[in-house]
Structure formats: structure tokens, C-alpha cells
């Protein structure tokens, strides 16, 4: 799933490690989220949305599978 996580993180000047600490996940998980290799659970998506002051739909772009 495409997302704007990197853009939002960089806008706040956070490193992946800092975001990982805030989310209580590993840096590798943040990297996998940003590159779209891992889709977060609903609780983690809500946590991200609240952290960035956005809605889930503003951060994650759902793509219809072909």
C-alpha cells in the first residue's frame, strides 16, 4: 500500500529511529512501512494517524488489486 509516511516524518525532521521509538516498533518496521512492504494493523495505523494529526486515508492510499 502506498503511503505518505516518509514525507510526513521528514517534514517533522524525525529519523526512522525516532519515529520507531515513538511508535514503539523497530526501525526496520518503520522502514518496511515507508517502502510499502508491510501494511500496518489498524491500531498501528490509528497511532500513526494521531501522531501526524491526519486521518488514515490521508496517510495510506488504498489501491484496488487487479
Amino acid at each position: 500500500m502506498k503511503n505518505r509516511l516518509r514525507e510526513l516524518r521528514e517534514a517533522r525532521g524525525w529519523s526512522q529511529g525516532e519515529l520507531a521509538e515513538r511508535l514503539e516498533v523497530s526501525r526496520q518496521t518503520v522502514n518496511a512501512l515507508e517502502t510499502g512492504k508491510y501494511d500496518p494493523s489498524l491500531p498501528l495505523a490509528f497511532k500513526l494517524a494521531r501522531m501526524f494529526g491526519q486521518t488514515i486515508e490521508d496517510i495510506f492510499v488504498f489501491e484496488q488489486p487487479r
Binding site: E24, V25, S26, R27, Q28, T29, N31, A32, K37, Y38, P40, S41, L44
Partner: protein
């Protein structure tokens, strides 16, 4: 500064595992060549440990992130709980057969027979605590690796069962039963390397 100190921590661990593995294999080889007295049971144990340690060294050297994404503190706790349990298991296995031959009282014999299994449960406890406290992506990696290893091992055992029924192979039942858990651990480790790479 020594050459070792310039290496990343995973490579230092890899060299340690390689040294340990080669030492075990050398001792097993020396026993096999009758350079020192060793029972078949201990020889098998040493060979198994040696092969396992060399395999772990190769994984750590060539795929340093193969363990997934667990935080360092969690990994440290895991090793702190896993290593004593595993060392206790190895120590018991070294004397287990002799102990079993020595103990005759049925109740005590039952206890001695199950002692390695109890220690394996101690090892499993460390692993369960590690998975439970991992983040959600790490748990997914562990779950997928567990599913893959269960499929591979059960499929392999079923295939071996058919071969045995057709009398094409002849594996003693006690060997087959004892190797279920090590086979699961080995396939789990290999599967985890490939699954973790998908999320990198």
C-alpha cells in the same frame, strides 16, 4: 584496536559461532577416529551442535539482518534466557544416557527420561516471550516462518512415512520422534531468513 573490534557485532558473533562449531566438529571427528573415547550418543550430540553452530555462523555472516526487526534490548533478553536453557540442555544430554542406565526406579527413570524435554520447554519459553514482546511486523515474520516450517516438516515426515510403509527406507521410530523438534528449528531458521528479506 584489534581486527575483531573493527568488525560489526553480527560478524564477531558469526566468528564466535564458527569457532565453537569447528571445535565441536573437531572433537566429534577425533572421537570418530578413535583419538579419544566417546559414546555414539555424545558423538552425535557434538556433531549436531557443531553443524548447527557453523550454520548459524554462515547465516550471521552473509545475512546479518536475517533475524528480522527485533529491538536490541529484546534480543539481549532473549539470549539471556535462551543461552542458559540451551547450555543446561546440552549439559544434560551429555550425561543423559549414562544417567538413564544408572537409574532403575521407575518413577525416577520417568523423571530422568523427561528431563531433556523439560529443558526444551525452558528454551521454548524464552522464544515465546521473545515473540510475544516483539512488534507486529516481527510477530508476522515469526508466524510465517513457523507456518512454513510446520508445513515443510509435516510434509517431509508424511513423505517419509509413506516411504517407510513401502519399505523403501527404515528409520527407527525413536530417531524419527527425536528429530521432529530439531527439524522444526532448522527449517524455521531457514524460512525466517527468506521471509524477513521480503520486508527489508
Amino acid at each position: 584496536m584489534s581486527v575483531l573490534e573493527t568488525l560489526p557485532s553480527c560478524r564477531r558473533k558469526s566468528l564466535f559461532a564458527l569457532g565453537l562449531g569447528l571445535a565441536c566438529l573437531a572433537l566429534a571427528w577425533a572421537g570418530l577416529a578413535n583419538h579419544w573415547p566417546i559414546s555414539d550418543h555424545s558423538l552425535g550430540l557434538l556433531a549436531g551442535m557443531g553443524a548447527g553452530a557453523v550454520f548459524s555462523a554462515a547465516l550471521l555472516w552473509f545475512m546479518p539482518d536475517s533475524g528480522g526487526s527485533a529491538p536490541k534490548a529484546l534480543m539481549r533478553r532473549y539470549y539471556r534466557e535462551f543461552i542458559p536453557a540451551m547450555l543446561a540442555y546440552v549439559a544434560v544430554m551429555l550425561v543423559w544416557k549414562r544417567l538413564l542406565a544408572w537409574v532403575q526406579l521407575p518413577a525416577l527413570r520417568l523423571l530422568v527420561a523427561l528431563l531433556p524435554a523439560l529443558l526444551v520447554f525452558w528454551v521454548m519459553r524464552a522464544f515465546v516471550r521473545f515473540v510475544r514482546d516483539s512488534d507486529e511486523m516481527q510477530r508476522r515474520i515469526e508466524l510465517e516462518a513457523g507456518a512454513a516450517s510446520a508445513l515443510l516438516v509435516s510434509g517431509g515426515y508424511m513423505a517419509a512415512g509413506f516411504l517407510q510403509t513401502a519399505e523403501l527406507i527404515d528409520v527407527p521410530s525413536k530417531v524419527a520422534m527425536l528429530w521432529v523438534f530439531p527439524a522444526l528449528c532448522l527449517t524455521y531458521g531457514i524460512a525466517k531468513v527468506f521471509i524477513a528479506r521480503r520486508y527489508r
